[in-house]
């Protein structure tokens, strides 16, 4: 009896174990069924203050069955490009969507690494976007990305100083030089103007604004190099003179990144500054600025009164990898990321300038960023940098040759001529 009773107990235990195991198995299976959500890997800017995660949560809530995993790209823009390049080059399917700078779409489109989005986006959907960002994602007649943020170069000026000396906001670069010299003679320790003129992408942005405003350009409509023109030479001469002849730029300008240019302006030692809109909030924060309430914003000066003002277009878009296993879902997310709701969240949370026209009349955004109303014309007329899959190399040639003029290795005319020739060599023209 005892023996059997024991056996019975053992059997009970075993049965219990089996039931428990079965139960566990069912739980596990059901979990894994539930987890059969599609997971998109989104290579993005860093998380910063959490707004990006809020946008993703909002997407996941409205799109059940799709989860988005944010992978942080490096801080430095060139490193971002290197990383994305490496992943796409190896045809890695682990990256579904990624952030793209305004100059990158031709690179990826020409390499055949990204999915064209024409089939997914209706014209109505594209209609609300500003012309600049749309131009940036369009290449060879196709749309390659969804813009989610725009940017444009602006002229910051010291309202109080101009008022004190009874000067107007300069309309041309010559006026800017004249006003700078006038104020520099009358104010202790003040310099005229600064921008990001170091040998990096920032210089190309600044340079193009000068070149365009004088009527020059890098490529014509047919894609031929037309950089070497009297207009371009005049533009580069003006820049060089601002450093070496008129002496209105702070010392060391040829190694100024955007932060280096902001620092003297924020500490009240500059009359003018060429900066992106992101400088505005910082200039109005008393913790790191001594010019709170004294700053005005205007369109950048023109080359001559019969030209117009040009701003270099900046901004970011999302693009879908051709090697993604979940393109449909990835496009869904791209559309959401560039959609009104997400752009509004980014505007409120990260002060990103919206790439959609309708958001410029949104009362919440206007309350948070009243300045975008005044800046709107600049965003509309912002001009894209020369479009080429070889852009990075073209840009590098422009930087190096322009700097050679800055440090007086060459005259402006020689620098422009050499840059023109080197770009032609590069493109085989």
């Amino acid at each position: 009896m005892n023996y059997f009773a024991n056996d019975g107990k053992k059997g009970d235990k075993m049965r219990k174990n089996i039931i428990l195991l079965t139960f566990l198995l069912i739980v596990l299976v059901s979990i894994s069924v539930g987890a059969e959500d599609i997971v998109l890997n989104y290579y993005s800017h860093g998380v910063e203050n959490g707004t990006r995660m809020d946008i993703i949560e909002e997407f996941e809530a409205t799109h059940p069955g799709i989860k988005v995993n944010l992978v942080e790209l490096p801080q430095d823009t060139n490193k971002k490009l290197q990383m994305i390049n490496t992943i796409l080059q190896s045809q890695d399917n682990s990256m579904d969507i990624f952030d793209s700078d305004v100059t990158w779409p031709p690179i990826f489109a020409a390499a055949g690494w990204v999915e064209p989005l024409d089939g997914y986006l209706s014209e109505v959907e594209m209609d609300d976007f500003l012309p600049g960002p749309v131009g940036a994602v369009t290449y060879m007649g196709k749309v390659w990305g969804v813009p989610y943020r725009t940017d444009a170069g602006m002229l910051y000026y010291r309202k109080d100083l101009l008022e004190k000396h009874n000067k107007e906001v300069p309309k041309t670069w010559d006026e800017l030089i004249e006003t700078s010299r006038y104020i520099m003679e009358r104010e202790e320790g003040i310099k005229g103007h600064a921008g990001s003129w170091a040998q990096y992408e920032g210089l190309t942005c600044n340079l193009m604004e000068f070149v365009w405003s004088y009527g020059g350009k890098v490529f014509n409509e047919e894609g031929e190099v037309v950089y070497n023109s009297p207009e371009t030479v005049a533009a580069v001469s003006t820049m060089t003179d601002m450093i070496n002849k008129d002496n209105i730029m702070p010392n060391g300008i040829v190694n100024f990144y955007s932060g280096d240019a902001r620092a003297p302006f924020f500490s009240g030692k500059l009359v003018f500054l060429r900066d992106w809109p992101s400088g505005w909030r910082k200039s109005q924060n008393p913790d790191n600025s001594q010019v709170v309430g004294k700053v005005g914003i205007a369109a950048l000066p023109m080359g001559s009164p019969d030209q117009r003002s040009y701003s270099t277009l900046g901004g970011w878009q999302v693009m879908v990898s051709k090697y993604s296993d979940h393109k449909e879902e990835a496009v869904e997310f791209a559309k959401f990321r560039g959609g009104k709701e997400a752009q509004k969240m980014a505007a409120l949370g990260l002060s990103h300038i919206p790439a959609r026209e309708s958001l410029y009349s949104d009362s919440d955004i206007l309350e948070k960023m009243p300045f975008i109303e005044d800046m709107f014309p600049a965003f509309v007329s912002a001009y894209p940098r020369p479009k080429s899959p070889y852009y990075a190399e073209v840009s590098n040639i422009l930087q190096v040759e322009t700097q050679k003029a800055f440090v007086e290795d060459k005259t402006a005319a020689e620098a422009v001529k050499d840059a023109d020739q080197r770009i032609k060599d590069l493109l085989g023209q």
Binding site: Q89, I107, A110, N251, D260, A392, N396, F406, V407
Partner: protein
């Protein structure tokens, strides 16, 4: 014996795999790619074999020679200064001084700071607007106008060298110190009895005895300095007007930023060959160490 041999090979397999995957494969793949015209922009069209054309292009490439010239100048000047100053520091650290622990620690601090951080630090200090170096020099009236540390083509080269010497001298002095400590004190005592002067002691005892350590240290530094990238990327990104563009910086820009994989690989190969030649120069002194 035989099975012992087999065991031996078995044990080195993991490291062999790592060497193949992480060193040999990339080196040979780079070499292979350097014979092709291969660009990110035309990747869809594949790569075309161009033989040695990339290398011929290098020898007609003004930017390459400018970068090579800068890199060689930078390497020679920086490593010489590091060696001389390192020797002085090592001698100080080798003495019986009160507070030697503090001296040794403080000499080592620059080496412990990550290059990117020390690069940023120097960048702030060099600034013409708010830099402490110009500030002090101006206050002491050494100079009338702020020195354009990073914005003048010539001064920028000096500025980059100073930052590198500051950062890597500790490494040099540490290695030399280890060499100095292996010299038996009796040799110095004997020399003192024979009436040798300090110059003779240094040239005939110290220098020959630390020569193996010194040549290894110099070799390491020459190779590392020749491939300098991070410090320059932070300080000047090669500017002004390419005056401080090192070979590595040019190679990385060409390969990754411009997407010119074939030509970038050729540049990397040339850099690799030059580094290899430099190491061969040191082969003799390395041998003497083994004997």
């Amino acid at each position: 014996m035989k099975s012992k041999d087999k065991m031996g090979y078995l044990f080195i397999i993991p490291s062999l795999i790592l060497i193949f995957a992480l060193i040999l494969y990339p080196v040979f793949n780079t070499l292979y790619l350097s014979f092709f015209n291969y660009r990110v922009q035309t990747m869809a069209l594949g790569k075309t074999f161009v033989g040695l054309r990339n290398f011929i292009k290098i020898f007609n490439d003004e930017t390459f020679f400018k970068s090579l010239k800068f890199t060689l100048l930078f390497t020679v000047v920086a490593v010489s200064m590091e060696t001389i100053i390192g020797m002085i520091f090592a001698n100080i650290m080798n003495r019986k001084l009160p507070g030697q622990g503090i001296i040794r620690t403080s000499v080592l601090i620059p080496w412990a700071i990550p290059t990117i951080i020390s690069g940023l630090m120097w960048k702030f200090m060099y600034s013409q607007q708010y830099g402490i170096i110009n500030h002090i020099f101006l206050k002491l009236q050494f100079i009338k106008e702020a020195i354009p540390w990073l914005s003048d083509s010539f001064v920028a080269v000096i500025a980059v060298i100073i930052a590198d010497v500051w950062k890597t001298t500790p490494y040099m002095s540490l290695l030399i110190l280890s060499g100095l400590q292996t010299i038996p004190i009796q040799l110095y005592e004997a020399a003192a009895i024979d009436g040798a002067n300090r110059k003779d002691i240094f040239l005939k005892i110290t220098l020959p005895l630390i020569k193996p350590v010194l040549s290894v240290a110099i070799l390491f530094r020459v190779l590392a300095t020749f491939r300098i990238y991070d410090l320059i990327a932070v300080l000047t990104s090669g500017g002004p007007a390419n005056a401080t563009q090192s070979l590595s910086l040019y190679t990385i820009k060409t390969y990754f930023d411009f997407g010119n994989i074939g030509y970038g690989a050729a540049l990397a190969t040339v850099t690799f060959i030059i580094s290899l030649l430099i190491s061969l120069l040191f082969l003799d002194s390395l041998k003497s160490k083994l004997e």
